[in-house]
């Protein structure tokens, strides 16, 4: 599978090394070294995925992430040197789908990128109803009372994963595996932040969710408790 990845990183050595690794995996990389130019480069290259360093000169990674997210649902994977929860949560809340903490192993990075590039391969032509939401799985559309709700592909995948088995409780680890393609590394923050983001879009009242419900001590499930 071929993919086009836009690498936004100011460290030229790292960018070059990333280029070597990505090309070795058959992924076509594009580079931009400045946050200010990231959006223009994004529009120009129309990548399948953005690999974004959070610390950038000019516009910083968080803002770049918001800018891109404002006009596209393209998967964004953050590169961050900070593993503090605050930094990661801020990055995820600005719209990133996944993150990789430096220093990472090349294989780990490639696995994450592939998981994001692969997306749901077998589109089942079906429509799922959960609560008052209608999900058109093939058309990647979610609507409530005829009104469309815009979700990023990842949020859509998360919702579909939950909605396909209503009332089935998914642990965060299972969701990590199904939606993000993780095998072992368990970072539940990823799930928590994305569930919150999803709720803010699909719930009538995100404070008392009815579509994506928390099951204390276990995980999440779709549908009423």
């Amino acid at each position: 599978m071929k993919g086009r990845v836009l690498v936004v990183d100011d460290d030229t050595a790292l960018a070059e090394m990333l280029g070597i690794v990505l090309r070795g995996e058959g992924i076509e990389p594009f580079f931009v070294f400045d946050g200010d130019k990231a959006l223009a480069a994004f529009r120009e290259t129309k990548p399948d995925l953005v690999l974004l360093d959070l610390m950038l000169p000019g516009t910083d990674g968080i803002d770049v992430c918001r800018q891109i997210r404002a006009e596209s649902g393209v998967p964004i994977v953050m590169l961050t040197a900070k593993s503090d929860t605050v930094d990661i949560v801020v990055g995820l809340e600005s719209g990133a789908d996944d993150y990789v903490v430096k220093p990472f192993k090349p294989k780990e990075l490639v696995a994450r990128l592939r998981a994001r590039l692969r997306r749901t391969d077998e589109p089942t032509a079906e429509s799922i109803t959960i609560g008052d939401l209608t999900i058109d799985v093939a058309g990647h559309a979610v609507s409530r009372d005829g009104g469309q709700i815009a979700l990023t592909p990842l949020e859509f995948d998360l919702l579909v994963a939950l909605a396909k088995k209503p009332r089935h409780v998914f642990s965060r680890e299972v969701l990590l595996e199904q939606v993000w393609g993780y095998r072992h590394a368990a970072d539940t923050r990823l799930v928590n932040v994305h569930v919150q983001r999803l709720r803010s879009k699909v719930e009538l009242d995100p404070e008392s969710p009815e579509i994506v419900v928390t099951v204390r001590g276990v995980g999440y499930k779709a549908g009423p408790a």
Binding site: A13, L14, P106, T188, N192, G217
Partner: protein, 563 residues
Amino acid sequence: MLRRVTQRWRRSIQVRVVSSTLVVSAIVVALLGFVVLQQVKSGLIQAKLRSSVAEEQLGITNARTQLSSATGTPDVQALLQEVVQNLSPVQGGSEGGYEVVGYELVTGTDSRTQPALNPGLLKESVPQKLTDAVTAGNSQYYYTYTKLLYDTGATSPAGPKIVSHRGLAIGSSMQVPENSFNTYQFYYLFSLQQQEQTLALVWRTLLFSGVALVVLLAGIAWLVTRQVVTPVRMAARIAERLADGRLQERMKPKGEDDLARLAASFNKMAESLQRQIRRLEELSRIQRRFVSDVSHELRTPLTTVRMAADVLHDARADFDPASARSAELLQTQLDRFESLLGDLLEISRHDAGAASLEADAVDVRDLVRRVVDATEPLAARRGSVVTLHMPDEPCICEADGRRVERILRNLLVNAAEHGEGGAIVVLVVADDDVVAIAVRDHGIGLRPGESSLVFNRFWRADPARARTTGGTGLGLSIASEDARLHGGRLQAWGERGKGSQFLLTLPRLAGSVVMRSPIPVEPADASREESAEVGGGAPTVTRPAAAEPGGIVTLKARARRDQ
């Protein structure tokens, strides 16, 4: 009750001051009252005595005149009665009055007259010793205090009913030459009832005013101490708030007195505390910032190196043996470098107080199972079998899953590395308040005293041996910091040749602190092995289970809930 009283006594200045004022003033007032009463009493008696003596002397003179003028040999008894009649006061012998009794002294006969006014007066009212004194002496008068006894006339089963009150008896004797030199004696019996009533009145007045004074003094003491204590209590309250971290709390100084000065210096202290704490916070912030910057600056080039090493490592088949081995070494040492850097950053995050707890309700069993699954291959390579004992019901615990997993991974990896192929047992026990996880290995164990050292940074059981096993030497330090962050504790037990046990106890509710653990830190099988071993030989002493206080991670929770 008594305890409550003593507690109040110890804890309240006001109670102490008021009660001591009460006691001291009561003693002083009692003494004062006693002295006043004595003064009044003696004054009253003296006055009464003077007036009584004057009265008596006048009476005696009159009696002498009357007796002298009696002619012939009249009936002595009748004469005396008449004299006594004349001497007696006109109206009532009761209050302020007196009784007069006359005698004609004839040896062997009692010619006592009846008191004129009160026939009930008993003759015992004139004491014998006064009669003796009057008979023997030749002073103008003699006096003594006595009791005036009256027969009320009524009778009770115990005999005639007798009333007595205090009195003064004055007696004189005289010879009347005109009347055949008969010796006559006259006794004046003065009632002291009035004086007694006056004294009783004074006593009552003194008592009431004394009590009132004592109460008043206590009240004043209460008011005064209140004025002092109220600001002091306010200071205490505000100091408590300061201690709770509300650094902007201040006292309100009123006026210019000592208490205002106390308030002012208190505020100054608070000010300086606040400044110091701000400074420390600033320092901590700077350190955190520094760590974060260092982390970033180091990690970016390290990432590049890492990727480059990986590429080289993957291609090592094409290298000559020296280069290929170099690529391998580069790879493994980079792994080590990375974990060391990660641990150092984590420790410095704990030191800076920047580590935050992401508490979430998790089932500890899931975490344990996951960690055991992940570390089992390592244990298997070392020949150890991992056995897991867990309750069937969920052990929900508000904890940071990432940190708890890290602790457990650390314990299990340690158990596998130092277990020398012996069985590894993981035991999970939960009660209402806490969840405890014990990781037991049957390896080399620990030497005496080492159980307190294992949590020290870069501590190694055996420096020569440790190099072969991985690990940064920071794992257990971080684990104990992580446990502390949860308000939990991490304890170690170990004995040479019997293996070791690490016990992690976590509170089920975030924010609470673990006080005890449902699992003893010394495993039950340790002492059993012991007794089996002892046999008939010299008993070996079992090391105390818990390490020295420094070793037991019994730390107050400073668990922050950042959610």
